[in-house]
């Protein structure tokens, strides 16, 4: 952590781009003359480090949250088996994420990206003996794999478009680096084939959608709650899902998106923000509520990057990391204390766990965007930024409205969870009585609470502001507050406050409001709990669709292809059975075959061959 913060501090004091030694990982020399290939000057794949404002910002997030989660784990995981494995995987997870953040080219980025995915696979499946955990791990790996494959194709497309371009021997020969010296390598390079670039952008977006659980690749994230809560905190705040947004940010800064891609990104972000929030509204599981809130918030960041407010998106990622880690660790403290994740069985925990209740409330206020908590500043800046583009991009309107409406839902669902868990009286006497955890658990909560309060104001610190200002896509930094923005803020805050009030009205008493089963609300609730059926559709596709095809192919392989082989075998067997009969064992029969053969050869030589030679000419 210390190193990460130091690097970030250094960056904030003198913003710029620093690269360190890199080594050639794989090098294909230029082919000799006369053998043109796609890379006439050869190509190199390198491993190196690149520190720039973007990565410095991410480093702080990764290292600080990582450190606090580690500290928290000491108590939270104390009774688990397989702790060496847990800490090894957690460390590898952080190392991979740092590697990704510091990568100086797309391939290295991808390499660590895959390692991040692998570690999340291991950690989600930490309780591998539970079938649900093993299944969730598989799902996370495969869904993100779909995204990874798209990302890979995106890399190919960028390599193809820009490989021969750039100064010197070209981008390919020098290792596909993001920057050369202090300049973006491709700056000043005339843009390539627009169609290819658009497809490349879509593919990168697909990769980011897989990792950051954007619609429709969002199914794995709620199921990933099968992992330990600490892992969830890490995945949601600092590592796995942040990687997708970071990829979009890096791509938009160094490679750029076409206009169509930007619209697509905005659309994806807006849709995801809204739909994830609707699914959070009815969740009975405390961790899943927070999980859906993550998807929703990631949607905001994607929206911002798409609309051109890259640094604002990362700024939201920065504040979000702290309050989301806080929410998860607070939820973890609750689960640790009462032994269930079911909101409807909790209740009244406020009295026994005042610190946790306060921490969760701070996290909730930050998430809902109530000033002066962290989430307010970044989300407000983000929405104001997107609003300012609506004039030039009217197509962004529906997605802006979706994102804006989500503010209300956010306030509602997170405080529904708070009221259910902490207010009223305990509902289920069979549960453990709650209690606060030891210092290893409370210290991270306190630190994160403090950060969740003040992190939003960091943007007004000169050093931090300078850091943000030296990234690419700096529109919206620092936030300006004109009449429009203030009006937007007021509307946003009142929406969020309205959501909280509705939550209080419905759940504030701590009583469960019975949902009338016949009402349209019940039908809606079923749809939302079934996640709009997307999960079932994937399950059907995997378990029924693909597997049926595989079974059919296997059947074909065994009985048609191999059957043909055996058919050959039988045909030859039959033939030899028949041929066998002429072996009578009688010497004179054999002699007559010899004579017959002699006659045939003689006929060939004396009759057929002269005829052929006469007909077609000799040679």
């Amino acid at each position: 952590m210390a190193v990460g913060v130091l690097i970030a501090l250094g960056e904030s004091l003198s913003p710029g781009t620093y690269t360190d030694v890199r080594f050639t990982w794989l090098h294909l020399p230029a082919p000799p003359p006369g053998h043109p290939g796609a890379f006439p000057n050869g190509f190199s794949l390198v491993m190196g480090t690149l520190v720039d404002p973007l990565s410095a910002l991410m480093l702080v997030v990764v290292t600080v949250v990582g450190f606090l989660v580690m500290l928290y784990s000491i108590e939270y995981m104390r009774k688990e088996r397989g702790l060496p494995r847990y800490y090894a995987e957690l460390s590898l997870f952080l190392a991979a994420m740092n590697g990704l953040v510091l990568a100086d080219n797309l391939l290295e980025f991808f390499l660590f990206w895959e390692l991040v995915g692998l570690c999340s696979y291991f950690l989600i499946g930490f309780h591998y003996e539970r079938p649900a955990a093993a299944s969730a791990a598989k799902e996370a790996f495969l869904v993100t794999r779909v995204g990874d494959v798209m990302f890979l194709l995106g890399i190919f497309l960028y390599f193809a478009v820009y490989g021969a371009k750039g100064p010197g021997l070209g981008w390919a020969a020098s290792g596909f680096l993001f920057v050369q010296g202090n300049h973006a390598f491709l700056a000043g390079v005339p843009a390539g084939n627009p169609t290819l670039l658009t497809v490349a952008g879509i593919m990168i977006l697909g990769g980011a959608a897989g990792k950051s659980a954007q619609f429709p690749l969002d199914v794995w994230l709620p199921d990933a709650m099968e992992g330990p809560t600490t892992v969830s905190a890490l995945i949601h705040a600092a590592t796995m899902v942040a990687a997708g947004v970071y990829l979009l940010a890096v791509t938009s800064v160094f490679l750029g998106f076409t206009a169509f891609d930007s619209l697509l990104i905005v659309a994806l972000g807006g849709i995801t923000t809204f739909f994830a929030a609707t699914m959070a509204v009815v969740q009975p599981d405390i961790k899943r509520v927070i999980a859906y809130s993550t998807i929703s918030q990631l949607g905001y960041m994607v929206l911002a990057v798409g609309a051109g407010f890259t640094m604002v998106g990362l700024y939201h990622l920065f504040t979000h990391a702290f309050f989301k880690a806080l929410l998860f660790l607070a939820a973890g403290a609750v689960i640790h204390a009462v032994g269930t994740q079911d909101l409807f069985r909790m209740g009244g925990l406020r009295k026994r766990m005042p610190l946790t209740a306060a921490a969760f409330a701070i996290g909730g206020l930050a998430l809902a965007g109530i000033p002066p908590f962290a989430g307010f500043w970044s989300k407000d800046d983000l929405l104001a930024g997107v609003y300012s583009t609506l004039g030039s991009h009217p197509a962004y309107w529906p997605f802006f409205l979706l994102a804006f409406a989500t503010v209300f839902l956010t306030g509602y669902y997170i405080f529904r969870a708070w009221f259910l868990a902490f207010s009223g009286e305990p509902r289920d006497p069979s549960l453990h009585a709650g209690h606060e955890g030891p210092w290893e658990m409370t210290v991270p909560l306190v630190i994160l609470s403090a950060l969740a309060v003040v992190a939003g104001l960091f943007v007004y610190l000169p050093g931090f502001q300078a850091l943000l200002l030296h990234g690419g896509g700096v529109a919206g930094i620092p936030p300006v507050y004109g009449t429009t923005q203030l009006l937007l803020s007021a509307v946003g805050v009142s929406l969020a406050g309205g959501g909280i009030l509705v939550a209080w009205a419905l759940w504030g008493s701590g009583r469960i409001v019975p949902t009338p089963s016949a009402a349209p609300a019940a039908g809606m609730r079923r749809v939302l709990l079934a996640r709009y059926g997307i999960k079932s559709a994937y399950d059907w596709l995997g378990a029924t669709g693909v597997y049926t095809v595989a079974r059919a192919a296997d059947f074909f392989d065994r009985f048609v292809i191999d059957g043909a082989v055996h058919g050959f075998e039988r045909a030859f067997g039959d033939l030899s059975e028949r041929m066998r009969r002429i072996q009578t064992g009688l010497v004179s029969d054999y002699a007559s075959y010899v004579v017959g053969g002699l006659l045939v050869v003689a006929a060939l030589l004396l009759v057929v061959a002269p005829y052929l030679v006469g007909r077609f000419g000799g040679g």
Binding site: F23, G37, L111, Y128, S135, K138, L142, L157, V546, A550
Partner: protein, 491 residues
């Protein structure tokens, strides 16, 4: 200069003969033989690997090339010519690694150990010969010499249908060999080469008319492709793997399949360039079908070994695709992928063998949750599966990445098929791991032991190689790109 390659050949030959005769000391003799072999090959490899750095020492032409007159006819000169280039050196290194890993893994083989270890050594000897032979006759001799020990390895030791499988293997590969021999000899005679040396044939054959080359290339392609194997000539492979002992499976997947790839690169693509260009659609079709078929059929397999066998068809399909691209990047990818697949499939077959004799079955649905009882075995399976599905930091990743990049450069959006299949490949490995390794224990008898030390050492060696070259693929790449094959700067 010392004739290095003949010396290695002689030491391997002496070791093999000694192993057959050594009786109950056979495993020690085999271990010594393979250790000497690995040391020799490793030394040779290191002396040519200029890594790190851009300007690796390039080896112009074939290194260590020696030629002795062998058979002299008035119209044809047959020499005993051997030599290595980067491509064969990488594959020889693979041979040496697999030999020692197999010997150590099979340390406690009880059924006729002298014959077992002798046949293992003989298989490696034959493969080594194929990789160094630079003469048609020598090449064919070694090519056929591999079939015999493999026939016995499959047909004598393990499974209930072993005779059937061995015969099927032999008939398939032998028919392919004959077609290949006819193709090679026809190439030699039509081209008017007066020597069976590779250099003479490779110099004369490209002068043949494209039409003739087209047919000759088809014959050679068929001969090599059955070894790959390509769909639909692949059904010998799963059967052979299922019935073979673990050592046989390891050598079959790790070495024999590579012979096809090496033969195609050296003796078909290089020798008949015009025919190759003309027949490329057939090569691509075979590659695409094999890639898709191998992966999709793997998904439906219950037997762990059968599943890995079909995944081999998928991976070798990618090798074929990369060779077909006719670019230096594709060739690099093909050789890397052959090395990677050799190591990784060997690891997977070893872990399948250990699963079989630990749990008494390889049926994936029949066992589950084995990780608490056998953590080391589970780790090995996981390492193999993850390397095979192309995870970074393991050897599969640089190979698959370069292969797919080359495919994109050569064929454009057709790369979507192998890319999409990557997801299916990931799916069957991940699903297998979910069913076998995770979840509550099922079909795990009490009191079983984890991986015995000798099997652990054998597999551990392969894991180490997987990680080493996964992190530093440059070691291999610099050797490969120094080859005197078109497109590489060695030419």
């Amino acid at each position: 200069m010392l004739p290095l390659v003949p010396i290695v050949l002689a030491s391997l030959l002496a070791g093999t003969v000694a192993t057959f005769l050594a009786g109950r000391w056979a495993r020690w003799v085999a271990l010594a033989t393979s250790a000497v072999f690995l040391a020799e090959v490793g030394g040779m490899f290191l002396s040519y690997s200029g890594w790190p750095g851009y300007n690796a020492q390039s080896v112009p032409g074939f290194a260590e090339s020696v030629s002795y007159p062998w058979i002299r006819l008035p119209w044809m000169q047959v020499n005993f010519t051997v030599g290595v280039d980067g491509i064969s050196l990488v594959l020889i290194l693979l041979t040496a690694i697999l030999q020692i890993a197999t010997v150590v893994y099979s340390w406690k083989e009880t059924k006729n150990p002298a014959a077992y270890f002798g046949l293992v050594s003989l298989t490696c000897l034959g493969s080594f010969g194929v990789f160094v032979a630079l003469d048609v006759l020598l090449f064919f001799l070694f090519w056929e010499a591999v079939l015999v020990p493999m026939f016995f390895l499959i047909g004598v030791w393990r499974g209930p249908r072993r005779r059937y499988a061995a015969l099927k293997f032999f008939v398939y590969t032998h028919v392919a060999s004959i077609v290949m021999l006819v193709g090679l000899l026809a190439t030699v005679f039509y081209s008017g080469a007066t020597s069976l040396d590779f250099s003479a044939v490779a110099a004369a054959a490209p002068g043949l008319s494209p039409v003739v080359q087209t047919f000759l290339f088809l014959a050679l392609f068929f001969g090599f492709a059955v070894k790959f194997p390509i769909v639909p000539f692949h059904t010998w492979l799963p059967d052979a793997h299922v019935e073979a002992p673990t050592g046989g499976s390891v050598l079959l997947a790790g070495l024999l399949l590579k012979l096809g790839g090496y033969g195609l690169i050296r003796w078909a693509v290089e020798v008949l360039p015009a025919g190759f260009l003309h027949d490329r659609p057939i090569v691509f079709a075979a590659a695409f079908v094999s890639i898709a078929w191998g992966s999709v059929v793997s998904l439906a397999q219950r037997d762990l070994k059968r599943m890995v066998a079909f995944s081999s068809i998928n991976h070798m399909g990618i090798v074929l695709l990369a060779i077909g691209l006719d670019s230096s990047l594709g060739l690099l990818a093909a050789v890397l992928l052959m090395f990677a697949h050799g190591i990784v499939s060997a690891l997977l077959f070893m872990s399948a063998g250990t699963v079989h004799h630990t749990f008494g079955t390889r049926d994936i649905p029949a066992i589950g949750g084995i990780t608490p009882a056998t953590p080391a075995l589970a780790t090995m399976i996981m390492a193999g599966a993850l390397a095979s599905l192309g995870l970074p930091a393991l050897i599969g990743f640089p190979a698959e990445f370069t292969a797919l990049l080359a495919t994109w450069n050569g064929l454009g959006y057709l790369v979507l098929l192998p890319l999409g299949i990557l997801v299916v490949t990931a799916a069957f490995y991940i699903w297998m791991m979910q069913r076998m390794l995770f979840g509550p224990p099922r079909g795990v008898p009490l009191g079983i032991h984890d991986v015995p030390w000798w099997e652990g050492v054998g597999m551990g060696l392969l894991v180490a190689v997987t990680v080493l070259f996964g992190i530093l693929p440059g070691l291999l790449v610099n050797v490969i790109t120094s080859s005197p094959v078109k497109g590489f700067p060695g030419t």
